[in-house]
């Protein structure tokens, strides 16, 4: 199949207009050694049945949460996904729609986004949530830029309890505006508040913490909010909304901006994306909030309708003075989350939190009965915890893969200080049998 839709005659005509002899002539500025000098070495075309067989064989090489028992977390979680989600999002009206660019003609899409925003605002305990951003990391990066814009200050004070990958994304985002980052160390699993106090100054735009943090531990959000506000900084809390059916919403503890990864709410883990960036803020910050925002209003006949509101903040209208250059959202993932929360309801979401934390604590109890295996931190945890192992976590992981167990995320790659640690997440999906089998396999692997 040819992918270039114009004919050689048309190409010649176009080249003639711009005075070029050949397409190659247009590429002369690219060094020859950087250009491919031979045709791509592609296998011959396959018939559909052969292709499906081929792709299935390749897919079979993956270790996924469908055919393994998954204790992986660190930002992406194996929560149960109710079947109706996939059926509902597959409707053409939803599935083919992009973030609305002719918004008022897409009342259904706007309505679904409005419901999503309402749910996220309620879960996070904030006044207003946007239509979503790419993922938790980009939500956090946008939140730090927003805190800088609101306060006019240029230092970000970020706890080491925040997901290291998110911190890397923040570093990339703030390189342009040249913001400074101060890292606050942990003291036994949670942010060291004395170090936090010392890190703050009149230049601090924000304090960023994660709740529960990357290592699974529960931060004292209220206490940290007071410390941040005394210094005139905004408190940004990274939180996974699925936990907030049970945990006190950060908004009720003094957070000014709440961001997080919403993947747990019905979005498949999918090798790390597409994800769902949740972004919520206090009312007085709404005009500085990045991203799209759907509002409910009435039309000339007094009937309820939905519009994209406060668009004057956005890049396509305000250009260089926009609050952010994000002009899109992850509409389909936001819809998955909306359907998920609708199906589970208030009690269901609470139950997911209760089961996850109860099972995580059962797992921690069983796993730490194994000689040499212990909890790395004493701080209270939620559905994820950090184990210290007597043998290399990488080798343990390899060994448990043979039993179709995904044991957890090794922490060496994030921080060498935790090279003997394994981050273990337990969702409501895990059964007692699975946890017991994990404990038995781990005992054998470290013996």
């Amino acid at each position: 199949m040819r992918y270039i839709s114009n004919t050689p005659a048309q190409q010649k005509e176009m080249l003639g207009v711009i005075g070029a002899g050949s397409i190659e002539d247009l590429l002369v500025r690219i060094p020859t050694k950087a250009r491919l000098s031979r045709p791509l070495n592609l296998p011959r075309a396959m018939a559909e049945t052969d292709l499906i067989r081929h792709l299935q064989r390749m897919a079979g090489l993956n270790a996924g949460a469908d055919d393994h028992v998954c204790f992986l977390g660190a930002g992406s979680y194996d929560h149960a996904i109710p079947s109706p989600i996939n059926h509902l999002i597959s409707r053409g009206e939803f599935f083919t729609a992009y973030t609305p660019y002719q918004p008022e003609a897409s009342q259904g899409t706007l309505r679904s986004i409005f419901e999503y925003q309402t749910m996220m605002a309620e879960l996070t305990g904030m006044d207003v949530a946007n239509a979503s951003i790419y993922d938790g990391a980009s939500s956090l990066a946008e939140a730090t830029l927003m805190a800088h814009a609101v306060t006019g200050r240029d230092t970000l004070v970020i706890s080491r309890g925040v997901n290291p990958l998110y911190r890397q994304v923040v570093e990339t985002y703030v390189e342009g505006p040249a913001l400074k980052i101060k890292s606050v160390p942990l003291g036994d699993g949670v942010t060291d508040v004395d170090a936090l106090r010392k890190a703050l100054s009149k230049h601090s735009a924000t304090v960023v913490i994660q709740y529960p943090n990357f290592f699974g531990c529960l931060e004292d959000v209220r206490g940290i909010a007071d410390i941040a506000h005394e210094a005139g900084a905004l408190l940004v809390v990274v939180a996974d909304p699925i936990n907030l059916g049970l945990l006190t919403p950060p908004g009720a503890c003094g957070a000014d901006i709440v961001v997080g990864e919403g993947q747990g709410l019905g979005v498949p883990m999918s090798f790390g994306g597409p994800n769902l960036g949740v972004f919520a803020a206090k009312q007085e910050l709404v005009r500085r909030m990045p991203g799209r925002l759907v509002g409910a209003t009435v039309d000339v006949d007094g009937q309820r309708g939905f519009v994209l509101t406060l668009q004057t903040r956005e890049q396509h209208i305000r250009r260089e003075k926009a609050t952010s250059n994000i002009c899109t959202n992850v509409a389909l993932c936001a819809l998955m989350a909306t359907i998920y929360v609708s199906i589970l309801g208030k009690r269901g979401l609470r139950k997911v939190g209760e089961l996850s934390t109860a099972k995580a604590h059962y797992a921690a109890r069983e796993l730490t009965k194994i000689p040499g295996v212990s909890l790395r931190f004493a701080a209270p945890f939620f559905k994820e915890f950090t184990l210290q192992l007597p043998k290399s976590p990488e080798r343990v992981i390899k060994r448990l893969m043979k039993d179709r167990l995904l044991a957890g995320v090794p922490l060496k790659g994030f921080d060498r200080a935790y090279k003997d640690c394994l981050l273990v997440a337990v969702t409501e999906k895990r059964t007692k049998d699975e946890i017991d089998a994990y404990a038995a396999a781990l005992a054998a692997a470290v013996a």
Binding site: R287, I317, R318, K321
Partner: protein, 130 residues
């Protein structure tokens, strides 16, 4: 033709200044509010903030656009119109009266000399909107 009171001074960015001793009361002109359309939000500095002549001091947002506000003179903000957050439409209905924005205690009253007269401002805006 927009209303351009003769006793006021003007900037090219469509702010007006009413000089009262070492203080200047400032706002945006009738022409500016007509160009903007319905004003829905005004963001102003707090009392005590310093502003600099011809630098931005705030933002006015209408249904059409968000525009920066430029200070006609340098000095310290001594009064802020507390009505505007609740009633931004005052900028449309009474731009030279209840729609005022700030009172600035001028550091250098000479700044006023650099501003336009009503006649000059009228000439600037005579071509109408864009």
């Amino acid at each position: 033709m927009a209303n351009v009171p003769a006793e006021l001074k003007y900037t090219r960015e469509h702010e007006w200044a009413k000089v009262e001793g070492d203080r200047a009361r400032i706002g945006i002109t009738a022409f500016a509010q007509e160009q903007l359309g319905d004003v829905v939000f005004v963001e102003l500095p707090k009392v005590g903030a310093k502003v600099t002549a011809l630098k931005t001091f705030g933002v006015v947002e209408s249904v059409k656009a968000v525009s920066d506000l430029f200070a006609p003179v340098s000095g310290e903000v001594v009064e802020v119109n507390a009505e505007l957050p609740k009633k931004p439409e005052l900028v449309n209905t009474d731009p030279y009266g209840q729609g005022w924005m700030l009172v600035i205690k001028m550091t250098s009253p000479k700044d006023v000399d650099g501003l336009m007269s009503a006649a000059d401002y009228e000439k600037l805006t005579a071509g109408g909107g864009h």
